[in-house]
C-alpha cells in the first residue's frame, strides 16, 4: 500500500466517465453517462425504472462490460472487468435480488470468496467468529449459524451489507434496498447507513422513492432514458424538482378512482377463510374478502405479506390448504388456472417476464395465450392464422403498443410495452374479474397512466377489480374500498378510501394497529347486497 494524499471531503472518490452500454437486443441502457461521487457522502441515484441506474452500477461492479467509457477510483483510472476487480478497488454492492446461496449459513455467505482456512479446510468456527465481530462492529445483527433460507428478508439484506463490509468496501452501492423492507426495517437500515457514513464509508443509494432520497442523501443524480439529467445537492432541491427531472414534466398522479355508483353490483369474487402454509410459515391466514362488480378493491401492505400468494391462490396457480374461492357464483376452489379463467377471471401478474409473456414468442402469440382454443382464433382444434394476426393488429393499435409488427418477439419490446401486451390480453377478453398485481411496476409514467385508465374504464363498465400494489399512493388513488394485509392476514378494511390518511394506513401495514378480525369480515361481507 502506498501512501496517498488525504482526500478532501469534496474529492471525487469515484468518477464514471462517458459510459455507454448497449444490450445485445439493442436496448441502449446507458448513453454517454458521467457520474461522480465524493468521498464520505450518501449519493442517491434516481430515475424511473429502465432509466439505466442498475446497468450503470453493474458496469461499476464489473457485471456488465461497457461499450464505451472509463472509470476512475480515487483519481486513478481503473479497469473493472469482474466483481473481483470491483472488490479490489473497494466497491461493494447490495443487489436488488439478493446474491445469497439459500442453503448456506449466514456466516458461510458472508465469508464466501474470502473464507478463513485451516490448512486446506474451511474454518467454520473462524468464519462464525468473523461474522459475529462484524455484526457487532456495525450494529447489524445476524445469527451466524442460521441458514439463509430460514431468515427474514431484512436479515438477508444485512448479510449482504456485511458481505460487502467484510471485503473492506469503502464505496457501498445499494440497489433499491427498501423495496422489500417493512418501514421499521427501512428505518433500521437508514440508521445503519448513516452510521456507516459517519465511519467514513461512501454510499451510493439507488431509489425511485423520492422521500427516502430526500431523507437520506447528500447529493442526488438523476438519470432518464439512459442519460444523466443532472446532479444536485439534496437540500437544494425539492421532491417536485427531482420528480420533474426524472420524468421530464410535472407529474401529479391524481386520484382517479372509478366513480362509485352508489349501489354496487353483485359479488363477482368471493374468498372465504383462505389458509396456506408454505415452507413452514403461514403465508395466508383466514383471508376472507369479496369484490363486487364495478368496484376496485385495493390491497395495501408491505410486500411479502401474502399478497402474491393470495393472487396465486385465487387464480389457481397455487393450491390452498383450506378455504373457498368463488368466481361469479361458481366454485373455483382447487380448480386449474384455465378453468378459473373460463369463469371470467383475468390476471395481471406481478412478474411479467416470468408469468406475463413468453419473450421469444411473437406479440400475437402472446396475445392469444388465454383464448387460443376459443373463437375466433380457433375452432377448438386448429388455429385461424388470419384471425390471430388480425387480433394482434387490433390489440396493438387499440392499446397503443409500440411495435414494428404483430410478429415481433415480445422480448425485444420495452418494459412498458411488454406490460401493455399483458394488459391488452387480459383486458380484451372482457373479463368479469381482474386480479391486478403490481400492474404498474417498473414501467414509465406514461404507461402507468394508461394502465390506470384501463383499470378504471373496465371497472366503470362493470368489471370487479382486485388491485394489489406496493405503492400505497397507487392503491389509495385507485381503490373504492381498501384492505390492508399484514403477515398473511387481513388486518383492516376501509369501506371508503376518500379521506383516508396514508399515515393511518401505514400503521396497519406495519402491524402496529389492527382491526378485530370478526369486525373486518363483518363489515366487508355483512353489507346488504342491494
Amino acid at each position: 500500500m502506498r501512501a496517498q494524499a488525504q482526500p478532501q471531503a469534496t474529492d471525487p472518490i469515484l468518477l464514471m466517465k462517458g459510459i455507454t452500454k448497449v444490450y445485445p437486443n439493442g436496448l441502449v441502457a446507458n448513453s454517454n453517462v458521467t457520474f461522480e461521487v465524493r468521498k464520505g457522502e450518501i449519493h442517491a441515484l434516481v430515475g424511473e425504472n429502465g432509466a439505466g441506474k442498475t446497468t450503470l452500477m453493474k458496469v461499476l461492479f464489473g457485471l456488465e462490460k461497457p461499450d464505451e467509457g472509463s472509470i476512475f477510483i480515487k483519481g486513478e483510472e481503473v479497469r473493472i472487468s469482474s466483481p473481483n476487480d470491483a472488490i479490489r478497488y473497494g466497491v461493494g454492492m447490495v443487489h436488488q435480488h439478493f446474491m445469497l446461496a439459500p442453503s448456506l449459513t449466514v456466516a458461510e455467505n458472508i465469508v464466501l470468496g474470502a473464507e478463513p482456512r485451516k490448512g486446506i479446510w474451511f474454518d467454520r468456527k473462524r468464519a462464525e467468529q468473523v461474522c459475529k465481530e462484524l455484526s457487532e462492529k456495525y450494529g447489524l445483527h445476524a445469527e451466524p449459524a442460521a441458514k439463509i433460507k430460514d431468515v427474514p428478508v431484512g436479515i438477508r439484506q444485512r448479510v449482504e451489507i456485511l458481505k460487502a463490509l467484510m471485503r473492506g468496501s469503502d464505496i457501498l452501492v445499494l440497489d433499491e434496498p427498501t423495496a422489500v423492507l417493512t418501514p421499521q426495517e427501512t428505518d433500521e437500515l437508514f440508521e445503519a447507513l448513516k452510521s456507516l457514513k459517519a465511519m467514513g464509508h461512501t454510499i451510493i443509494f439507488i431509489s425511485h422513492k423520492l422521500r427516502e432520497v430526500k431523507e437520506l442523501s447528500d447529493r442526488v443524480t438523476v438519470l432518464r432514458s439512459g442519460k444523466v439529467i443532472g446532479t444536485r445537492d439534496t437540500d437544494q432541491v425539492t421532491v417536485e424538482e427531482i420528480s420533474r427531472m426524472m420524468v421530464g414534466r410535472d407529474v401529479v398522479l391524481k386520484p382517479m378512482r372509478p366513480k362509485a355508483t352508489g349501489t354496487r353490483g353483485e359479488v363477482r369474487l368471493l374468498a372465504k377463510n383462505l389458509n396456506l402454509v408454505q415452507d413452514g410459515t403461514q403465508v395466508l391466514k383466514d383471508v376472507t374478502l369479496q369484490v363486487r362488480a364495478g368496484e376496485i378493491l385495493g390491497i395495501a401492505g408491505v410486500e411479502g405479506n401474502g399478497q402474491v400468494e393470495l393472487a396465486e391462490v385465487i387464480t389457481g396457480l397455487s393450491p390452498c390448504d383450506s378455504g373457498e374461492i368463488w368466481v361469479c357464483g361458481q366454485d373455483a376452489t382447487g380448480k386449474s388456472p384455465g378453468e378459473i379463467r373460463d369463469m371470467g377471471l383475468s390476471h395481471i401478474p406481478q412478474d411479467r417476464m416470468i408469468f406475463g409473456v413468453a419473450s421469444n414468442a411473437s406479440i400475437s402469440e402472446n396475445l392469444i395465450s388465454t383464448r387460443y382454443d376459443k373463437r375466433p382464433v380457433s375452432n377448438g382444434f386448429s388455429l385461424d392464422i388470419k384471425a390471430v394476426a388480425k387480433l394482434g393488429q387490433d390489440l396493438i393499435s387499440r392499446f397503443g403498443i409500440k411495435a414494428s409488427s404483430a410478429q415481433q418477439a415480445v422480448g425485444t419490446l420495452s418494459g412498458g410495452n411488454i406490460q401493455k401486451v399483458v394488459i391488452a390480453r387480459e383486458f380484451s377478453t372482457e373479463p368479469k374479474v381482474i386480479i391486478a398485481n403490481q400492474p404498474t411496476r417498473g414501467i414509465d409514467i406514461g404507461a402507468t397512466e394508461s394502465v390506470h385508465k384501463y383499470l378504471v374504464d373496465a371497472t366503470e363498465s362493470g368489471t370487479a377489480v382486485l388491485l394489489v400494489s406496493a405503492d400505497l399512493t397507487e392503491v389509495m388513488s385507485l381503490s373504492n374500498r381498501l384492505i390492508v394485509m399484514y403477515e398473511g392476514q387481513v388486518v383492516a378494511y376501509f369501506d371508503e378510501v376518500q379521506g383516508l390518511e396514508e399515515e393511518e394506513i401505514g400503521l396497519y401495514m406495519l402491524g402496529l394497529k389492527r382491526q378485530e378480525p370478526d369486525e373486518v369480515t363483518a363489515s366487508m361481507m355483512g353489507r346488504p347486497v342491494e
Binding site: 439478493f98 439459500p102 448456506l104 458461510e108 474451511f122
Partner: protein
C-alpha cells in the same frame, strides 16, 4: 445347496458387487461434482470411453500402468474442459454439448484405435498394462470381509477413498463451499468475486478426472484391453445414480452399490432359466421405479427438480 445360491451368498459375490460398482461409482461422483457446481454432465459416458482408450494407449507406449492411468485421467480432464469451453464460453446447451461429446467419443475412439492399433474392435495387439490388485495386509485375513474387500483392484480402493475425499472436498473445504455456492446461486458467487466459470471449469475437470478413472478401471482393471463402446451405458447409469443419490457423494455411493448389486445379481442369475433380457432390465427398471418414488416424495415436500 444349489450352486447358484451358494454363489450368491458367497463373499465372492459381494466382491463382485464392488467390482461392478467401481466404474459407475467413479462416474457418479463425477456427476455429483458437476451437478453441484450447476452443470449437468451428460458426457460422462464419452469421457469414460475416451479415458479407457487413452489409458490403454499410453500404458502400451510407456510400459507403465500408472502412466496409462494418468493419461486416462488427463483425457477425462481435457474432455471436461472442452465441455466447459462450449457450455460456459460459447453458451452451448450443456445437454446438447454432452450428447455431441458422447457421439464424438463413441466413434472417435474407434477412429483413434484404428489409427493407433490398426484395429477397429479390440486393442489386444497393444501391450497395455493393468492396474495392480492390492491385498490389504490385515483385512485380507479376516474371514468374510477379507474375501470381499481384502483383495481388489487398486482402483476399487481408490473409488471408495474417492467417496470420502469428494465428500470432504465438497463439504469441508472452502473450495467446496464456493463450488456449492456457484451451483446454487451463480450470481451470489459472482458478486463476491468468485469466478463462476473458473469454479465450474474446475468442477468439470474434476468430474472428467473421476469419469476418466472409471474408464481406466474398465480397460485397465476390469479387463486388460480397450474394446469399442466398452462403457456400454455405464455413464448414463451414473447419471441415474446421481439422481437417486440426491446429488450427494454418499447417496451416489449407495445408489451405485444398488446398481452394482442388481448387475452382479443379473450376472449370477443367468444360470437360472429366466430369460436374460429380463434380468438385464432389472437395473434400469429399478432406476425408473426409484426415480418415480423418490421424485414423488420430493414433489410432495414442495420442491421441484427441474433439470
Amino acid at each position: 445347496m444349489h450352486p447358484l445360491l451358494r454363489a450368491v451368498f458367497s463373499a465372492s459375490f459381494a466382491a463382485s458387487i464392488l467390482r461392478v460398482t467401481t466404474p459407475v461409482l467413479f462416474a457418479s461422483l463425477g456427476a455429483v461434482v458437476a451437478d453441484l457446481s450447476g452443470v449437468v454432465n451428460i458426457a460422462l459416458e464419452g469421457m469414460m470411453l475416451i479415458s479407457a482408450l487413452m489409458g490403454v494407449i499410453a500404458s502400451a507406449f510407456t510400459g507403465s500402468a500408472w502412466v496409462g492411468f494418468l493419461a486416462g485421467v488427463a483425457s477425462g480432464i481435457l474432455m471436461g474442459l472442452v465441455l466447459g469451453y462450449f457450455h460456459l464460453k460459447l453458451k452451448t446447451n450443456v445437454i446438447l454439448a454432452g450428447i455431441a461429446l458422447n457421439l464424438l467419443a463413441a466413434e472417435g475412439t474407434v477412429f483413434l484405435l484404428y489409427a493407433v492399433a490398426h484395429d477397429k474392435g479390440v486393442s489386444s495387439s497393444l501391450p497395455s498394462k493393468v492396474m495392480p490388485e492390492i491385498q490389504i495386509p490385515i483385512i485380507k485375513d479376516i474371514p468374510v470381509i477379507g474375501a470381499i474387500i481384502g483383495k481388489q483392484n487398486v482402483l476399487t480402493y481408490l473409488a471408495l477413498i474417492a467417496v470420502v475425499m469428494i465428500y470432504l472436498f465438497l463439504y469441508k473445504t472452502s473450495f467446496g463451499l464456493r463450488l456449492r455456492a456457484v451451483g446454487e446461486n451463480p450470481d451470489a458467487a459472482d458478486s463476491v468475486g468468485i469466478s463462476v466459470h473458473k469454479v465450474q471449469f474446475i468442477a468439470l475437470a474434476l468430474s472428467g478426472a473421476l469419469a476418466g478413472m472409471g474408464g481406466v478401471h474398465l480397460s485397465m482393471g476390469y479387463v486388460s484391453w480397450f474394446s469399442r463402446n466398452m462403457t456400454s451405458g455405464r455413464g448414463f447409469i451414473a447419471l441415474a445414480a446421481k439422481a437417486l443419490g440426491r446429488n450427494h457423494p454418499i447417496g451416489a455411493f449407495l445408489a451405485s452399490l444398488l446398481f452394482g448389486f442388481t448387475d452382479a445379481l443379473s450376472n449370477y442369475m443367468q444360470s437360472l432359466r429366466v430369460p436374460g433380457e429380463f434380468i438385464q432390465m432389472i437395473p434400469y427398471v429399478v432406476t425408473l421405479v426409484v426415480l418415480a418414488v423418490y421424485s414423488g416424495r420430493q414433489l410432495k415436500s414442495g420442491r421441484s427438480s427441474n433439470e
